[in-house]
Point group: C2
Chain length 652, copies 2
């Protein structure tokens, strides 16, 4: 025994309040309130070895209530992770410290994912639990056998995405997922009763979850509840009744302790109240030792696992998948060769399916799915059978009508490692999961979004379903590749490029309507982002820059111009971000300043000025309309008849 | 009696299958499945008068499952609305027909809102029910006393936003809201059991709803359930057990009837099965007459209401609010005069609160709120007390941590009319409600989004909370004004401009950090979108174009340039969309081609090329970081010391 439970937890409280005080910024309430629960979790339940944060069979711990970041920084430091050091914690929320305002997966091993945007932590944990069950089914208990633990707050549970995540986890019977809810009845605005009257346990039970409650400050009761959660075959919600800012005698239990420093007086009062006499950032040796022991608790299990894995026939394959290394041949080269031999006039969503048929055979870690648009997104292949409680080895997820939940789950799967997730919806519903796409990018995760029906070309469904601003507004997200291929060959290239990105996500914007195969070579041209698909025959006066379905149109416009003796290049630009990464000479060669540059894309023109300067931007700066696609393209001026005169006018 | 119930419903079925067949596109399954429920609703419950779709005390009917648009087109036509005519229906999904693929509020009176993006119809209905209760509390039962009815499908209920909408409605005890769930157990991908195992009634009960079920093809049972829903003081969910595509003998009950025409053979088989002998688009006279009578059912009530309203002391004020006309004085002019007399160095979020203090006194139809960031968004004023079951006359909504639900509810409130909603969250969480912002714009609704913490200037919370791409990506949404004011005067102007937009929404992007008051005149300069805040003193060689917090920086950069004898204008550009609407001469005067144009905005540079051409774009094309704001501005190059050399280099 030695150190009593309370002292272990108070070490977290002290670090949290000291760090927030030093930064004069942060959220002490949650770490102080959940310190007792977290202590029991790390001491008795969580399988981890602080000396090897990358051990693939570790339990995953997700702090969904990311504003309480000092909780995890304190836990990692106390249990002996190499970082954060005490100096890192002293520099909480300062430039260069890995102890950022919210936990960032790329700053600290042990921070399994970036949290702060509420609700997404739980939803990413669902993805982690899915990946665990899948890999368990493929590799067996000896290699993959762990749990996913989450600490979530009222905010996480009130967000819409929580409904999607909870519904998905219940349906998939993810019994290894346990969510510890910080039931403190306080939100930023005040008491939870200001804005909600929900029976949260009943709601989870309705979704097939096991639920239980505990006194979040009674160590025995916490341990009882966590044991119950760990054992139940359903996903578990544990309502941990806590006092926000527990320990602070005056501010504890109020929303004043949520997101502001306690202040010197209340810090003093708290130290007195909990009997903490050490200096700020100092942990008494006995307590520090006890925590260090906790950090070593999993070492033997980890070493036993390593022995098993090195002897296991599937150990090397698991290691390959966990490292994120693709198989030597992803199958795309042969697929492109076949396309060049037998050109396909298909929609790029269909071309994507054709590429996926090859990829899902060659790359067994690909796990696909769709938010209830399987037949429209063309995301299911012969090699991918349904994933679910009947067969976790399946590689196709019926995510239901849950775009945000799907995207966040994919982030969780990618973060877990061992699988590469892709999932589909209509491009316009990128809006529904936009912040999860952003989190893929922030977290440097290889997630592939298959976004079909990418323009007015979808036709009759009308403006609510027609993306106009989406392609450009996705391009605005840093560290995200947006691909809009023009034919079956480019689609295959873009798929290969997306899978080759080990540290960033990709969006594939794909058509509903058929497109001719324009490419006749296998040069992986899309890798340059933009390239000359067709050179001017007559003296070049015009360069047409187009993407996706508008490349065919650009080819036709070029032909009409050439017929009048006006030379026109056609540049296909499937990925502006990759084009931006080419050297200046290449870019200047493709987009010369001595010709009229014309962009053609069935979306907003805002942003194209970056590429065509004072040239002509042809697009749609309003919402679409409901009609057959050919009528719409005519109506919105996407025909050679409408475009050629505009070019001639500018040349004159 | 005369016509039997079944025949009334079959008229809907016939029109739905004929229109989809003619268009060779559309969704027959839902209208055919819900025809019986809709018949009972319109015949026995819904308060409406087809001859006056704008009657303000009508019940609101929302087809949340918008893909089933032929259901509402059939109902409007059959009950005698002026539009759609039978020719409109013949032209279903064709260019120019008001019978668009999904129902559009701007195409047809009687279509209360635009639906199709799943889940948002229910959430908008929550807003309508909120507006009804608010106006009822203010104007009394004689003037405002109606219900909101919704038809929703499995997709609507599975979306995350449904959780937020259901939670809000239960908490607010919106007993006038009744949701009829098309419980057909089919989604696009197949059986609902593929992706969900939720007990939907239990989930609603957990949120404080009344729930009941009925056989959706038994007219008596439907009427019983709807009566129960209408009477219960809680919001009601009625599970209507239906067969999708009811009437189609071979395809009915399968997902094949969801989103594709039945095909000629199945249409014939359906006609035979239901005994429908009329030609396509023909409604037998007896049935047509019976439906026309239903359309007149509410006429007496409407006339009685009009008599009451014209005699009522508050009738004129209600009419003003419902017309969307602002009071003669919105209070902003006096507020700006006071600011000019006593300049305020405040964050623009605080400046927004100051403007709102004046506005909420002068404009009683303003109803504010926040998604649990009241103290951060500065959205609550002294004039606005909490809205809720204890006081529906209150004008401040604690929306909880429900950004998407809030935005959709605001759309519903605006669509209902009589209130002007505004609501706050952090700008980065515009991502969470982006499609609802888009729907504000598509629907031409005056909704004001108060988005604070608008850049890295928010400091320590770090990249997940720092908008980088958001301002520009919101500018990409058509028919939306994005304001980013630079000081307290501009903030007041932008608020006045936002409220003056009767047919489009606005986003106010506001700082966390303090800014000096730069404006010294009352000219409502923001109305031009961009204007010269400061003219060059030396010969002009540079024009600095900045927004929000970077305008102060631009002023400092200009001073540094002028000190070196380089003349520099400073242009403040609070709203690019309004600037785009100015004439060419004005725009050329502000952004002359004979100077180096330099944009400065703490966000992505993509898009600024539209305004500065080949000039210099200063921004952030990566995610932010966690640190105090001054450190971040220095780190990312937002100082005169970093910017002036870049300008000098370009001038050289």
């Amino acid at each position: 025994m030695g150190i009593e439970d309370r002292k272990l937890a108070d070490a977290i409280r002290a670090l949290a309040m000291d760090a927030v005080e030093a930064a004069n910024s942060g959220h002490p309430g949650m770490p102080m309130g959940m310190a007792d629960v977290a202590t029991v979790l790390f001491r008795d339940f969580l399988k981890f070895d602080a000396s090897d944060p990358q051990w693939s069979d570790r339990d995953r711990f997700v702090l969904s209530a990311g504003h309480g970041s000092m909780l995890i920084y304190a836990l990692l430091h106390l249990t002996g992770y190499a970082r954060p050091t005490i100096d890192d914690i002293r520099n909480f929320r300062q430039l260069g410290s890995p102890c950022a305002g919210h936990p960032e997966n790329f700053e600290l091993p042990g921070v399994e994912c970036t949290t702060g945007p509420l609700g997404q932590g739980v939803a990413m944990a669902v993805g982690m639990a899915m990946a665990e069950r899948h890999l368990n089914a493929v590799f067996g208990d000896d290699l993959v056998d762990h749990h996913t633990w989450v600490i979530a707050g009222d905010g996480c549970l009130m967000e819409g995405i929580n409904h999607e995540a909870v519904g998905l986890a219940g349906h998939l019977k993810l019994g290894r997922l346990n969510v510890l809810w910080d039931d403190n009845r306080i939100t930023i605005d005040g008491a939870t009763s200001l804005s909600t009257s929900e029976d949260i346990l009943a709601r989870h039970a309705a979704a097939g979850w096991h639920t239980t409650s505990c006194d979040g400050h009674d160590f025995k009761d916490i341990a009882r509840a966590l044991a119950e959660a760990a054992e139940d075959p359903r996903p578990s919600l544990v309502a941990c009744r806590t006092v926000i800012g527990k320990g602070a005698p005056n501010k504890g239990g109020t929303h004043n302790v949520h997101g502001s420093p306690l202040g010197a007086d209340e810090v003093s009062a708290t130290r007195a109240a909990i009997g903490w006499e050490a200096a700020p950032f100092d942990i008494p040796a006995g307590i520090a030792d006890a925590w260090a022991e906790i950090g070593k608790r999993g070492r033997a299990a980890r070493e036993a696992w390593e022995a098993r894995a090195s002897a296991h026939p599937k150990g090397a394959e698991l290691a390959r998948r966990m490292a994120g290394t693709l198989p030597a041949d992803d199958g795309i080269e042969a697929h492109i060769a076949a396309l060049l031999a037998n050109p396909a006039k298909v929609a790029t969503r269909k071309a994507s399916e054709m590429a996926l048929e090859a990829l899902t055979v060659a790359v067994p870690e690909l796990v696909g799915g769709s938010a209830d648009l399987t037949g429209s997104n063309n995301t299911k292949t012969k090699a991918t059978t349904p994933f679910g409680p009947d067969d976790y080895a399946g590689r196709y997820v019926y995510y239901g009508i849950r775009e945000f939940g799907m995207a966040a789950a994919m982030n969780g799967m990618a973060l877990h490692g061992g699988v590469i997730p892709y999932g589909g919806t209509f491009l316009v519903f990128a809006d529904y999961c936009r912040n999860a796409i952003r989190l893929s990018a922030i977290q440097h995760q290889r997630v592939v979004y298959v976004m079909t029906h990418d323009s007015i070309g979808l036709g009759e469904d009308g403006p609510t379903h027609q993306p106009v601003e989406h392609v450009m507004s996705l391009r605005a997200i840093p560290n995200l590749l947006v691909f809009r291929p023009c034919d079956a060959v480019e689609t295959a290239e873009c798929w290969a490029l997306a899978l080759a990105q080990t540290d960033r996500p990709s969006v594939l914007a794909l058509t509903r309507q058929n497109l001719p195969q324009l490419r006749t070579d296998a040069g992986m041209q899309s890798a340059k982002g933009g390239y000359r698909l067709k050179s001017a025959t007559a003296a070049r006066r015009v360069v047409l820059v187009a993407t996706g379905s508008e490349v065919e149109l650009a080819v036709n416009v070029a032909a009409a111009l050439e017929a009048q003796g006006i030379g026109a290049d056609v540049v296909s630009m499937p990925c502006t971000e990759l084009f931006d990464q080419q050297n200046a000479a290449y870019r200047a060669d493709i987009l010369p300043t001595d010709a009229l540059l014309v962009s053609i894309e069935a979306g907003v023109t805002l942003g194209w000025q970056k590429y065509v300067g004072q040239g002509l931007t042809i697009g749609i700066d309003s919402f679409g309309a409901s009609a057959p696609a050919p009528d719409l393209f005519r109506h919105f001026g996407f025909t050679p008849e409408a475009i050629v005169p505009r070019i001639l006018e500018r040349l004159a």
